[in-house]
Symmetry: C2
Subunit: 367 residues, 2 copies
């Protein structure tokens, strides 16, 4: 995709308005006083996830000299965490900060906006969204729900979760009651896992009492807050269902179209800034948290090759089933898959080799 086209595209939806803005006195139209509400799916306790919305809102406020105020609300303030998209669609709020895969129950295509098993890593998600047609493709889909989406943060590859027993072979998944949601849960179910929905606050007691056997959450920094190593010490990696997990800012489509072009440009840039800075923040915080978890007793374990292969096979079965049922999913999945396959051809060369050499130096204490 052409970059200039992308940037200009930010203003296209407001075509008529932008044209009149040029003719009219500049100030009144370009810096109107606006007060919007943004609902976040993330509690303040998950400060990096929640914080990305603050970075965004604060940038918009400063860039408009306080004329465009976006107030950030947490789950429960206006409505439930997982209704952020719905509240944006129906105009309860002007915008939201959430993960599109939370809404995969409405349509599995939503999962592709965030992460799918054996999908893209964090950098590749940016490449697909900004430059590989991903944003246009996903927005053509989001439009059906009356929202416009902008990439709004990433966690990087997540951890595979906490387990009360070791997972050595695919058979060890059989009968496992695991807190895991969405598409990943559907794949895990093929391997015999019984996926559970568990609110973050309930994960610790549920593992402690054996109500569940395993739970996936995010990565070291967020996981450390739950203290799960005390009740399920085996900490597996990676989350093959989240090689990168991209968040979105959703804006009601009519609200987006009503904005002056200048405000659309500011929102676009502020979202990109929140996007890159959220990943930066997780990357800066995760190493210390990992050390803390390991010194607290967490037993780090990689999923074996055999386990990963079985999960990959199960994922492809789920993709085939969903593609047969849902044309939007098929279109988006095939676009992402083609992009992914080219990305992994290239990433193993310069980036992969460089990183692997640095890992080897770290492992032998040479850094």
């Amino acid at each position: 995709m052409d970059r200039r086209k992308f940037i200009r595209g930010a203003g296209l939806a407001a075509g008529g308005l932008a044209a009149s803005t040029i003719a009219a006195p500049a100030i009144a139209d370009s810096m109107p006083k606006l007060k919007w509400r943004l609902t976040s799916s993330f509690p303040q306790s998950l400060d990096v996830l929640y914080g990305a919305a603050n970075i965004f809102a604060e940038t918009v406020r400063q860039a408009t000299d306080g004329n465009f105020e976006i107030q950030v609300f947490g789950p429960g303030d206006i409505g439930p965490a997982l209704k952020a998209l719905d509240m944006t669609s129906d105009g309860t709020v002007e915008m939201s900060h959430t993960a599109s895969y939370y809404y995969w129950g409405k349509d599995p295509t939503f999962a592709i906006g965030t992460a799918i098993p054996f999908g893209l890593n964090s950098r590749q998600e940016n490449a697909w969204m900004y430059d590989g047609g991903g944003m246009d493709l996903m927005n053509a889909f989001f439009k059906k729900y009356g929202v416009y989406g902008l990439p709004g943060g990433n966690t990087g590859a997540q951890m595979g979760g906490w387990y009360r027993k070791e997972i050595n072979t695919p058979a060890d998944f059989s009968g496992l009651k695991m807190r895991i949601a969405g598409l990943a849960g559907a794949v895990m179910a093929k391997l015999g896992v019984v996926p559970q929905q568990t609110a973050p606050a309930d994960v610790y007691p549920s593992l402690e009492k054996g109500v569940i056997d395993a739970a996936e959450f995010v990565g070291p920094y967020d996981d450390a807050k739950l203290g799960l190593y005390k009740v399920a010490k085996y900490y597996y990696y990676p989350a093959w269902w989240e090689g990168g997990a991209m968040l979105h800012f959703f804006v009601g489509l009519d609200k987006w179209n009503s904005l002056p072009k200048s405000y659309q440009a500011i929102i676009t840039a502020a979202a990109a800034m929140a996007n890159v800075q959220m990943q930066a923040r997780y990357d800066a915080l995760n190493p210390g948290a990992l050390r803390k978890l390991v010194s607290g007793g967490a037993q780090l374990r990689p999923f074996s090759g055999e386990v990963m292969e079985a999960c990959f096979k199960a994922s492809n079965e789920v993709y085939a089933e969903l593609s047969a049922q849902n044309a939007d999913f098929k279109t988006a999945y095939e676009a992402l898959k083609a992009f992914r396959n080219e990305q992994y051809l290239w990433f193993q060369v310069a980036d992969g080799t460089y990183d692997n050499f640095m890992f080897s130096l770290q492992q032998k204490g040479a850094l």
Copy 2:
């Protein structure tokens, strides 16, 4: 570093001005008509590097409804490519888009803003700059040259360059006339390389005539434009001197301080957007370019472990020498090194394992 502090920090330098802005009628102060000149170190032919400045300038223009225009100039339009920093320092231009390591001859500390041998990868550079104290630390140094720097793009890990003969052991570097600049050239010199300065247009004929034996450039997308596989077919990876190469936007410090806080916020967000989108564009374009190079006859070769180890050792010698001579270098290098070592502890876990599994699937044609 606290995120809010970082965002607010964008306006701190303009303290007095910002305070008066609040009291005065908002519009006149917050959206003044400004026309700035930005000089880029990159020719238009390197469209991704040059293009990042256009993304930036176009975003600023749109965000300010055309009131703040930043005109982008290429090398030679106002002054030479490698005088971009100097022209920003002395007020010839208000800002520039360049790589700080071009100026390492003034002070080797400049190298740390872009990339140093066996330094950070692209994501880690963002983490260090935005969240690990890197921006504050580098700006304390840049201040001596009268400029304020903002991260402004990245290439990702680069390729190790084009060689007329195979490099199997460190001894093969001995006597090699190689186009390689900066700190990497100083490290290569320890291995017997004779570093050469060669303008991009001269690289092909110099290799063809044997004036040089090897040349490093960027990555597949830019390298493909030079057609070097025809005259030096061995294409090595990775560039251990550029695990990621971060560009900067430099703004004259007095110019930065004279801006209303709203324009500072817009520049900060637009630079972050250019930063993430330049990396995205390279990632999207490199796979196809790599295919083209290989089908044209390029022989892909990884540097051997023995070669990489020797280069790492030589790099550490150079770091020790520079640290003994230069206190700014020592401070910045030690901060970056401590951050790097923690980063590589973590990156090998979730991200590294995920990527390596995906590489294995790609290699066996399973994707």
